[in-house]
């Protein structure tokens, strides 16, 4: 137990430099942007003295290192800044939008997992059989489907004719919210499915030839119990790894899906913020998305350590 705890703690500590790097990158990237942020805040017709005043308030007149230190301190105290367009706190906005994005992305990943396992198992059962070929063909096809297009096709051919799902927005109440998530989450699931199926199929086929599976078979394990107790259990760590990678990708799928379905999530917020040139807002979104991915990988590492003791010892 203590070993497990120490592992999580070590992982958490190793994230600190990464988070500092993310903040630095976010700050440097946005300072590449054309135009003077202070001029943007003050407005195009403001006198130069006012622009200088704003720059001082925003700390833009200080050296980069100092700005970075101030920025890190500010974010560490939980303040992501203030939108220059609406004057709203970036943190508040993020907190409002986070649930939608998390719900769409996690539901999408869950759906993808639910589809991946039976498909991959079916494909690996008889390699190069008709089922395997069909599933591999579907996987190849799935990679090339543009996410935004599946979303629009879903609206046009499912949401509009049946009237089961809202065409845009999340509606009122928990029931509407859940119904509004069905199509977006399905689209996200489709967009991340193919690599997961391919990866699990390959793992299952390798396990088919593993010595311990052969041994289990000699001992009389067959069919379902062989699959569950020996093959699937050992297929979990690589599945976690590919799922984590695809879940990171699902976050972008969520951006596209939120825009297509008009869902008020982080992705739509980011797109709107960047089209209105709202620097602090964009910066805040970038950090939130990056932190989400970092946390995602942390969860994957911890899960891997939980199911596979070897990871705890070597890492």
């Amino acid at each position: 137990m203590s070993g497990r705890f120490a592992f999580v703690l070590r992982r958490l500590l190793s994230l600190l430099p990464l988070l500092l790097g993310i903040l630095l990158l976010a700050m440097l990237l946005l300072s590449l942007a054309p135009g003077d942020p202070a001029r943007q805040v003050a407005g195009p017709r403001a006198p130069q003295s006012e622009v200088d005043e704003v720059a001082r308030e925003l700390g833009l007149d200080r050296p980069v290192v100092e700005r970075y230190a101030l920025y890190v301190a500010q974010v560490a105290s939980g303040d992501l800044g203030t939108s220059v367009k609406t004057g709203q706190s970036v943190g508040d906005q993020v907190v409002d939008q986070l649930p939608v994005t998390l719900a769409v992305a996690s539901l999408g990943v869950l759906l993808a997992l639910l589809v991946t396992v039976p498909l991959a198992v079916a494909a690996a059962r008889r390699p190069d059989g008709p089922v395997d070929h069909l599933i591999r063909l579907l996987a190849v096809f799935g990679i090339g489907l543009p996410t935004f297009w599946i979303a629009i096709m879903g609206i046009r051919f499912i949401a509009l004719p049946t009237g089961w799902f809202p065409v845009a927005g999340t509606g009122e109440g928990a029931g509407d919210f859940l119904r509004a998530l069905v199509l977006p989450a399905s689209v996200v699931a489709i967009s991340i499915l193919a690599p997961m199926v391919r990866s699990l199929r390959a793992t299952m086929m390798e396990l088919e030839e593993a010595e311990f599976v052969l041994a289990a078979r000699t001992l009389g394990f067959r069919g379902g119990s062989l699959l569950r107790r020996f093959q699937l259990r050992n297929a979990v760590p690589p599945l976690i790894t590919v799922t984590a990678a695809q879940a990171g990708y699902a976050l972008f799928g969520t951006v596209v899906v939120e825009v297509a379905f008009g869902l008020p999530g982080l992705g739509q917020g980011l797109v709107v913020a960047s089209s209105t040139q709202d620097f602090p807002l964009v910066q805040g979104y970038v950090i939130v998305f990056a932190v989400l991915v970092v946390l995602l990988y942390l969860v994957a590492d911890v899960l891997n350590a939980a199911v596979d003791p070897r990871v705890r010892i070597t890492a």
Binding site: G144, A244, V256, Y285, Y297
Partner: protein, 295 residues
């Protein structure tokens, strides 16, 4: 981080080494050939259509005709007109002249940069290698697309920003791929032989190391084209990429979304065109991967 971040490529497990361990089977060799042929025919068709666009339609893809907006297919407009009265067929065809070369560029530029860095890192090692690998760790910790959106936001819309954004994000996978190959090759007998023969490092890298990393890179590059085609369109759909009125499939879809009930084909066709092209590249990549697995 180690277990996850290395596989966090945009395409996840595509072209991953996991699928190569299967023994050769005549059936999958035939399947590989079919994939390569079908994929090749699809991609070649797109290239030909893009080249011949001016001869296949007499319309200018950006000519507006507001009075004839959203027309149904007719003799003059075989696929109808879009929301600004532009000929849909002409736009679909001319978009190939935008999407294809840009998709190609946003794949090849990261490949070149990544290969160069990968070779230097793998062959020379040392502090430069450590630095490049740490930078790539940091880049991979970022969600790829968010990083690209930020870059495009910071650099302003347009093709130049797209090229930079895709290159900054995309080189990592190539660098890691090539670096790993180089590390494997570096100790091979023929490299030692070349060194013993007195060849300099640049010559050994160019003549003996690089050619041996090419196949793996090429397979990944082909799969990466799938990502490039769909990602480019997605960026334009979100309003970050190529802007209207320039014909581009993703931007066309976004512009037509409000009219999807009345003029369905305006949203269906561009996506279909992207899907088939992406399928072509995917089949090529898959065929190459299968064939390699059988060697």
């Amino acid at each position: 981080m180690s277990t996850v971040s290395t596989s966090a490529s945009p395409l996840g497990a595509i072209g991953g080494a996991t699928e190569t361990s299967r023994a050769a089977r005549p059936r999958s060799r035939r399947a590989a050939r079919i994939k390569l042929v079908v994929g090749g025919v699809i991609v070649a068709t797109y290239v030909v259509l893009a080249l011949l666009a001016p001869w296949l339609t007499s319309h200018d893809p950006t000519d507006q005709d507001i009075l004839n907006a959203l027309q149904a297919p007719s003799a003059t407009h075989p696929l109808g007109t879009d929301e600004a009265g532009r000929d849909e067929l002409a736009r679909l065809l001319y978009a190939a002249r935008i999407d294809l070369p840009i998709a190609f560029l946003v794949t090849v530029l990261p490949c070149l940069l990544g290969t160069a860095l990968g070779v230097v890192c793998g062959y020379l090692g040392g502090w430069f290698d450590a630095l490049v690998m740490r930078v790539s760790d940091l880049l991979q910790a970022f969600p790829t697309y968010i990083l690209m959106i930020v870059l495009v936001f910071s650099l302003g819309h347009g093709v130049r920003s797209l090229l930079i954004a895709f290159t900054v994000v995309g080189w990592v996978v190539y660098a890691r791929l090539v670096r790993a190959e180089v590390l494997r090759i570096r100790e091979a007998g023929y490299i030692t032989a070349a060194r013993t023969a007195g060849f300099g490092t640049p010559r050994i890298i160019a003549r003996h190391v690089l050619p041996n990393t090419l196949r793996q890179t090429l397979i990944y590059l082909t799969s990466d084209l799938v990502f490039a085609v769909t990602a480019l369109a997605a960026f334009s759909f979100l309003g970050f990429g190529i802007q209207q009125p320039t014909p581009e499939w993703g931007a066309m879809t976004a512009a037509a979304q409000p009219y999807m009930t009345t003029n369905m084909s305006l949203t269906v066709l561009p996506g279909l065109v992207i899907t088939v092209l992406a399928l072509g590249f995917a089949l090529l990549g898959d065929g190459l991967q299968d064939r390699k697995g059988n060697r």
